[in-house]
């Protein structure tokens, strides 16, 4: 990718907090390229290094080692020019409690040489009715939409959103997703972090799965799910006894077997081939089912198959 087409590029980026034996390696050699116009999601559990990564990209943290390039520029030399073109929403922002929604946006607008009218941005995030309400009178979802509005008011080319919907109710999440969709439609770049797999699947063109400071998988949500071998998951629990995992994995339509506590999860596709074969196999082995269900595979299954842990553990 040439510079103009690449919104974010980082190579061998390392972030270590502290020194000596107590030091913590938060990001362990990250290589990443995000083309312009893409919505890229960093997906991973809490403490995986997502926030540290985006804050290095946002120029708020200095990497211990490695090279970060944003919109073809570098933080050390082009900080002001970069800031003019970036919108940032931190993981948690406590805006001043006794400023109104419009006052907060007007303040943030004044920091940028170029930008959007605060009232227009209020319309984008559906906060017109709260225009003159103080920040401390807003609901959690409204506060979060205002935080995103502060990131949009400079009319950025690249938008960073760190866990934009964490802790929000479903309705508020949907509203924020619509805001992000609107931004994407303009052909601009979004980089977000989340530990919600459904959010990543719904919003992101590509997803990077992060665990322990390392990128362990990268691709479109579809590709990542396809890497499981099947897009369907069969979950089953036996009344007693155990499955012979090797022979089950060899059944037609079954692409993988995973033990989940006292039950099993099978990656399967197509389902109409896998299910009869599975039932026959159980009957032949005189095994009794306690329960069986099927569902679509998600990024959660990708994470579990890569790490053996759940995202929310």
């Amino acid at each position: 990718m040439n510079d103009a087409a690449c919104a974010v590029r980082c190579r061998a980026v390392v972030k270590r907090y502290g020194t000596g034996k107590t030091s913590v390696l938060a990001v362990d050699g990250l290589d990443l390229e995000v083309p312009s116009g893409e919505c890229f999601g960093l997906l991973g559990p809490n403490g995986a290094g997502k926030t540290t990564t985006v804050e290095m990209l946002e120029g708020l943290l200095d990497p211990t080692a490695g090279d970060v390039e944003v919109l073809g520029m570098r933080w050390a030399t082009d900080e002001r020019a970069l800031r003019e073109r970036l919108g940032v929403s931190l993981q948690q922002t406590h805006l001043p409690e006794r400023l109104s929604v419009h006052e907060v946006l007007t303040l943030f607008r004044s920091f940028f040489a170029r930008g959007r009218d605060p009232d227009d941005v209020l319309a984008v995030v559906s906060l017109e009715e709260k225009r003159n309400a103080w920040y401390d009178k807003l609901s959690g979802g409204q506060k979060q939409r205002l935080a995103v509005a502060c990131a949009l008011v400079g009319d950025p080319e690249l938008l960073f959103l760190d866990e934009p919907t964490t802790g929000l109710d479903p309705q508020s999440r949907l509203q924020l997703w619509d805001v992000i969709d609107g931004f994407k439609k303009d052909g601009r770049t979004v980089m977000l972090t989340t530990h919600y797999m459904d959010e990543a699947e719904r919003l992101c063109d590509r997803v990077g799965v992060v665990d322990h400071g390392k990128l362990i998988a990268l691709g479109t949500p579809r590709e990542l799910i396809a890497s499981l071998g099947g897009r369907e998951v069969i979950e089953l629990k036996l009344a007693d006894g155990a499955l012979d995992e090797t022979s089950v994995a060899a059944l037609p339509g079954v692409h993988g077997v995973r033990r989940v506590a006292d039950a099993y999860a099978l990656a399967a596709e197509p389902l109409h081939v896998a299910l009869p074969a599975l039932v026959d196999h159980l009957r032949a082995g005189a095994l009794t089912l306690e329960r069986l269900s099927t569902r679509r595979a998600t990024l959660e299954d990708v994470f579990v198959s890569l790490t053996g842990r759940h995202l929310r553990d």
Partner: protein, 358 residues
């Protein structure tokens, strides 16, 4: 919630021209201040209440009479009646009672009448020495002494020399110190704790604008604070401003600048409001006591004077008193101006070096 997300609004063709970041930041500081009732109270209410309370406690009263005892015996009644007046209260007591009253401090002097009159008192107590002079003077005159030169007393209770005249400039100094320190130090650390400093740093905001907005806010505030306190002292207690109002404002601005620097310095590293609160008390406490807010710093031993005079609040209070009470001009204020300028410039320079932005 009933709000339905709208399509992005059409961008306005001619958006209102945004005002400068420095203007918006300063305006924000003002809005937040005036929307915080406790900040308003500490800035305006507290000094006024303090002035009223202390003004009542230390209001001017007729001088207390001096209590003395006259030992019973010949001539005791005559002496006692010659002494008793508004200034001296004399009672005739037997010897044991008189001495006991002297020991317990009920009287400061015992008169023993006789052909040689004896005064019994503790020479180390200033009021006893005063009583000795007063009593002897009264008795000698009653017995016929005439003074070679007639004397006329011209007693002064004029505004300008009262406690409240001393107090009001001290309270102005105190208010300038505490509102600069709290208004900058505490607020900045609160913004840092709430990650707002970091949030604003993620925009193209200039760091200088951010810091300057605090200084500007303080400077504009001095124009409110000082007239309110001076006006209150004048209306409620008749405290006159003898010097030029412009010199008073200039000195106040310089003082606010010096303490703004100190406030910025204590806030430059602190990560939470408890730390900065402790640091501010550490800085302000010595000045609260030693800088002549409530009583003159000359009450402290000579050895401490150079240190006390180097404190910025001492310099500010000295300068404010000189202007308010004595009508001093700029030329007479060279030393406090120097102390405040050095303090302000040095603390600003140090704070900018140390300031934790992220």
């Amino acid at each position: 919630m009933t709000e339905i997300p709208l399509q992005p609004a059409a961008r306005r063709t001619r958006p209102a021209k945004p005002r400068s970041a420095l203007f918006e930041l300063t305006l924000t500081r003002f809005r937040l201040f005036f929307r915080e009732p406790s900040a308003l109270f500490w800035t305006f209410g507290f000094p006024v209440i303090l002035a009223v309370a202390l003004g009542i406690a230390f209001r001017n009263r007729p001088p207390d009479p001096v209590h003395v005892a006259v030992r019973a015996g010949p001539g005791a009644e005559t002496a006692a009646s010659a002494l008793s007046s508004g200034l001296v209260e004399a009672t005739v007591e037997d010897e044991a009672t008189a001495l006991q009253q002297l020991r317990t401090g009920k009287v400061v002097l015992v008169v023993v009448p006789g052909s040689t009159r004896a005064y019994r008192y503790d020479e180390t107590r200033p009021e006893a020495r005063l009583a000795r002079l007063l009593v002897d003077d009264r008795l000698q005159r009653a017995e016929g002494r005439t003074d070679p030169t007639p004397v006329a007393d011209d007693r002064v209770t004029e505004p300008g020399a009262r406690y409240i005249d001393f107090l009001i400039p001290g309270l102005i100094g105190l208010t300038l110190m505490s509102s600069s320190m709290w208004g900058i130090g505490y607020v900045i650390v609160e913004l840092r704790t709430k990650k707002l400093v970091k949030r604003m740093l993620a925009t193209p905001m200039r760091r200088g604008d951010f810091l300057l907005s605090f200084v500007l806010m303080r400077a504009l505030f001095v124009l409110l604070e000082v007239p309110v306190l001076v006006g209150f002292g004048w209306i409620a207690f008749g405290v006159r401003l003898n010097g030029s109002p412009l010199v008073l404002l200039g000195i106040s601005l310089l003082g606010a600048f010096a303490f703004a620097g100190l406030g910025l310095l204590v806030s430059s590293r602190a990560q939470n409001t408890q730390t900065v609160g402790g640091l501010m008390n550490l800085v302000m406490m010595p000045m609260f006591v030693g800088s002549g807010v409530f009583f003159s710093s000359s009450n402290f031993p000579d050895a401490m004077q150079p240190a006390l005079r180097a404190l910025p609040l001492t310099a500010l209070n000295d300068a404010l008193r000189a202007v308010v009470n004595e009508g001093a001009g700029v030329a007479a204020l060279a030393r406090p101006i120097l102390v405040l300028s050095v303090c302000g410039v040095a603390s600003f320079a140090a704070a900018l070096k140390l300031f934790r932005w992220r």
